[in-house]
């Protein structure tokens, strides 16, 4: 648990430092994730302890969003005044994005399978 947490935090720290040094417009934790992935690939496996800690952290991922969600209190007036725009963007925008992403990925998969199948003839 402690080793795994240290590994994860070290990757995040390295990611944050890399962002500061390089000026990349990418957030530190995202770079940290890529660093951890690279480390796992180089090492050729995940140790049981690291896997367990990661699974615990990710198993309660939704909890981590609660404090930010309560922040709606601070923006109550803005949300009340512009609620039709915010509601439209939230509901319709989200559904459109979900559909476009899923259909693009499924379509590409089918296209590739079809081309692969075609080349056998």
């Amino acid at each position: 648990m402690l080793e795994a947490l240290t590994l994860i935090l070290s990757c995040q720290l390295a990611g944050e430092v890399l962002v500061l040094v390089s000026g990349l417009p990418v957030p530190g934790p995202v770079l940290g994730m890529l660093l951890l992935l690279a480390w796992l690939v180089l090492r050729g496996g995940v140790s049981e302890r690291v896997a367990q800690t990661a699974d615990t952290l990710l198993g309660h991922l939704s909890l981590l969003f609660v404090p930010a969600g309560v922040g709606v209190l601070v923006h109550w007036e803005r949300v009340r005044d512009q609620w039709p725009a915010i509601a439209a963007a939230l509901v319709l925008g989200t559904l459109i994005t979900l559909a476009v992403t899923a259909v693009t990925m499924a379509g590409m998969q089918r296209l590739l399978a079809w081309r692969r199948g075609g080349s056998h003839d």
């Binding site: 994860i8 994730m33 951890l36 939704s62 963007a89 559904l95 476009v100 990925m105 499924a106 998969q109």
Partner: protein, 244 residues
């Protein structure tokens, strides 16, 4: 004067981060219990219920958000390490990743562009001001990333955080239904679409459906955070929402 000790206890507790940290965990566990009692029905989203309970508590006790956040920041902080930890489910899916590289790339670019443009266009159509529009643009990306982007472009980072959480809840509540309607059956595709649209909250929902769906949702969340951070500034400049 009988309530004097009680008031003293309250004054002491209200000043320490312990109270609201504990309250956050308790409200989340209650929300989780409700969600499980409702047979994990997507409508009973645990984040939405927990946020509702906490808002009610803060209003009842007259506690300002800043006081609440002094305690809750310890939970909020874990978003960063959790993002890093996504490397593990990704690593486990490495074989499928190789075979799906091209469809993933196409879906990623289409999804990230659609997420930002649909949010800004719909917001503008219904009369949101520029600050709200910029805050809406990165709403499909995981919270720490979206807040950073919003701040850089002149939006309101804390409003973005709220919009990010709401987007996550909407996607988690309506997502599985929409995917069924679209007849998408591959868990990899379902997960990828869910994670791209609804980041960590969608990923949490996806992990409950299947480990494959969860892993691909996590992958989409990570990739879209990366690509949105790179693409959103020029995209918003191109449509004239932010200056040079």
């Amino acid at each position: 004067m009988t309530d004097a000790p009680l008031t003293q206890i309250w004054v002491y507790l209200a000043a320490s981060p312990l109270l609201w940290l504990t309250a956050t965990l308790v409200c989340y566990l209650i929300a989780l219990k409700i969600y499980r009692l409702g047979r994990e029905n997507a409508l009973l989203n645990p984040v939405a219920i927990a946020v509702g309970l906490l808002i009610a508590l803060l209003q009842l006790t007259g506690t300002p958000y800043q006081t609440y956040f002094d305690g809750a920041q310890f939970v909020h902080f874990l978003l960063g390490p959790a993002t890093v930890a996504l490397a593990i489910p990704l690593y486990r899916q490495r074989e499928r990743l190789k075979t799906l590289a091209l469809p993933i790339l196409a879906a990623l670019l289409a999804g990230v562009t659609t997420a930002a443009l649909s949010a800004v266009a719909l917001g503008a159509l219904f009369g949101a001001d520029t600050k709200t529009l910029i805050s809406l643009a990165p709403k499909s990306v995981t919270a720490p990333v979206a807040m950073g982007i919003s701040e850089k472009l002149g939006g309101l980072p804390s409003l973005t955080a709220v919009l990010v959480v709401s987007t996550g809840i909407v996607g988690a509540v309506l997502g599985t239904g929409l995917l069924r309607l679209l007849r998408i059956r591959d868990d990899a595709v379902k997960g990828f679409a869910m994670g791209l649209t609804s980041h960590g909250i969608g990923t949490a929902r996806a992990f409950q459906v299947s480990p494959v769906m969860g892993a691909f949702s996590g992958l989409a969340m990570a990739l879209s955070a990366f690509v949105t951070a790179l693409l959103l500034p020029p995209l918003l400049r191109w449509i004239g929402l932010v200056g040079d």
